[in-house]
């Protein structure tokens, strides 16, 4: 079975968060996905206000209500709004059911201003996910982090596990950028199913640092699952990537919350 690190309530039909969650679970069942991690709401903006963060977290909380046995929530936070992010972490993680944080664009993650967010998430044992994309076509979003930004963050927090979203987009560079930083794992979600990505990641980082995610609903579960199923790696390595690595990262906070899996 598969645990999916990277799911959204966008890119799928449904009028409410619950309807969209139901639709995604139905499709996930067809391809053997057991657990799904959700972050961000039904409508996104690249420079979210504090109110946007709260609203999108509310939508994820609503979606989770009937699916606690299948889905986990990550709290959407932003380096542009540190105080609001900290209060959302208290509301959604410390006092709520969420188990991780998601940092997207708008604020580069190498800025020490985000350190209070990282420290509080680490105290709560929350999984820390940072979107990254290195683009060659000039379409980088304002404040969009690169793998190099994440490396600066990783150097400041060497004992805090961090996840490099999308393997940095240009995965041949992303993998090399984080190779020397063992507290950084990579998320393979949200890119075309190009052959060789997972093989290089396993070769350079070890399978223990590679995590399956889809980036659904904008991406197909199938295309992302294929990156692992079709990779020329061992069955043990596939099990680590599909489930065991994410489960290992989540277990401390799940235990703290008395969540049985």
């Amino acid at each position: 079975m598969i645990w999916d690190l990277h799911c959204h309530l966008s890119g799928v039909t449904g009028r409410t968060p619950a309807e969209r969650m139901g639709r995604l679970i139905e499709i996930a069942d067809r391809v053997g996905i057991e657990r799904l991690c959700f972050y961000m709401g039904m409508t996104w903006t690249k420079e979210p206000t504090p109110e946007d963060l709260q609203k999108q977290n509310d939508e994820v909380l609503e979606a989770l209500q009937h699916y606690h046995d299948r889905a986990f929530g990550f709290c959407y936070v932003s380096g542009d709004h540190v105080e609001k992010s900290l209060s959302e972490i208290e509301r959604c993680i410390a006092a709520g059911p969420m188990v991780g944080i998601k940092l997207w664009v708008a604020h580069h993650c190498n800025d020490p201003a985000i350190d209070p967010i990282i420290r509080r998430a680490a105290e709560l044992k929350a999984v820390i996910y940072q979107h990254t994309w290195l683009k060659t076509d000039g379409t980088t979003y304002p404040g969009e982090s690169s793998p190099y930004d994440l490396v600066e963050l990783a150097k400041r927090h060497p004992r805090t596990p961090l996840i490099l979203g999308h393997t940095g987009g240009q995965w041949e560079l992303g993998i090399r950028a984080v190779r020397a930083y063992p507290n950084v794992s990579i998320d393979i979600a949200g890119s075309d199913p190009t052959a060789g990505l997972v093989e290089m990641a396993v070769r350079e980082l070890g399978a223990e640092r590679v995590i399956y995610g889809s980036d659904c609903g904008g991406r197909s579960f199938a295309s992302q699952i294929a990156k692992v199923h079709g990779a020329e790696i061992s069955e043990r390595e596939k099990r680590l990537i599909f489930k065991e690595n994410l489960k290992r990262m989540l277990m401390p906070i799940l235990k703290a919350k008395n969540v049985q899996v």
Binding site: G11, V12, R23, L24, I27, R30, V31, W133, K135, T136, D137, T139, G169, Q170, E172, S191, D192, P193, T194, A195, G196, E199, C216, G217, G218, R219, S220, F221, A222, S223, I225, A226, K227, H229, G230, A231, E232
Partner: protein, 256 residues
């Protein structure tokens, strides 16, 4: 299962698992593929297209006789491209050709394209057009290649009534309304290698009808399992699955 979107030779920017023909053929056969329509990655940047097509034909015969179906490249910006199309059919017995307008530097409203498509239609050759070869965000910084604009193809299909086109790797670059118009012509088909979103094939079938959808993997650059799992991800009933996997492509190539 007929895979209409496969490549031999080398992707120019990295070695890819399964890019040796023996390995590729073994992988496709193991997945249940009974025929694979093959182009050549060499055709993207090589100028000696005649040699590329000749190698493609020889290697298809050598490594997959009756299994690998070669689709030669034609570049209408090259001198005497007309002889390439003639050789594809008369020398190499190809059933179709594969065009890469973006890598070859022309638009589909170029007058030479009208001549090329007319010639292909007259010869009853299938025409495959590859819209995208790589996510534009990850292309090599020195080789930035835009998506192919398919809009002019709508008029070409209206005027050339014998023309049949298979659009490859359409869904990163093609506009929804253009796909709708091409599908309405009933002489354009779409394969699924770049179709994303959850249950994307189901959505594509709703958009263009299952008669217009073909199984394509874009192997070996894309992992072949991606296209296979997409069929599992979308509920396809009432003969739709068989049509997409095999029936539509068999009918197309049978008429070539």
């Amino acid at each position: 299962m007929i895979d209409v979107n496969v490549y031999l030779h080398r992707w120019p920017f990295r070695r890819v698992p399964g890019d040796e023909p023996e390995a590729l053929v073994a992988k496709l056969r193991a997945a249940g593929v009974t025929q694979a329509w093959c182009g050549s990655f060499d055709a993207l940047l090589h100028r000696d297209i005649a040699a590329v097509n000749s190698r493609l034909a020889v290697e298809c015969r050598k490594f997959g006789p009756g299994f690998l179906e070669p689709f030669g490249a034609v570049n209408p910006t090259l001198p005497d491209w007309q002889d390439d199309i003639r050789r594809c059919q008369e020398t190499h017995s190809m059933k179709g050709i594969r065009l890469h307008p973006n890598y070859h530097g022309y638009k589909l409203d170029d007058p030479r394209v009208v001549e090329l498509l007319s010639a292909a239609a007259a010869r009853k050759l299938l025409v495959q057009i590859a819209v995208t070869m790589e996510d534009e965000r990850t292309q090599h910084p020195l080789v930035q290649v835009p998506h192919v604009d398919l809009a002019p193809l709508v008029a070409q299909l209206e005027s050339l009534t014998a023309l049949r086109v298979v659009v490859l790797n359409a869904f990163r670059g093609a506009k929804v309304d253009v796909v709708d118009k091409l599908a309405s012509s009933r002489r354009a088909w779409f394969e699924i290698a770049t179709k994303e979103n959850v249950a994307g094939v189901e959505a594509l079938v709703q958009q263009v009808g299952h008669e217009r959808v073909l199984f394509g993997s874009y192997a070996p650059l894309f992992i072949h399992e991606s296209a296979v799992w997409k069929l599992r991800e979308s509920p396809l009933g009432g003969g739709q699955l068989e049509a997409i996997q095999t029936g539509n492509a068999r009918q197309l190539i049978g008429a070539a």
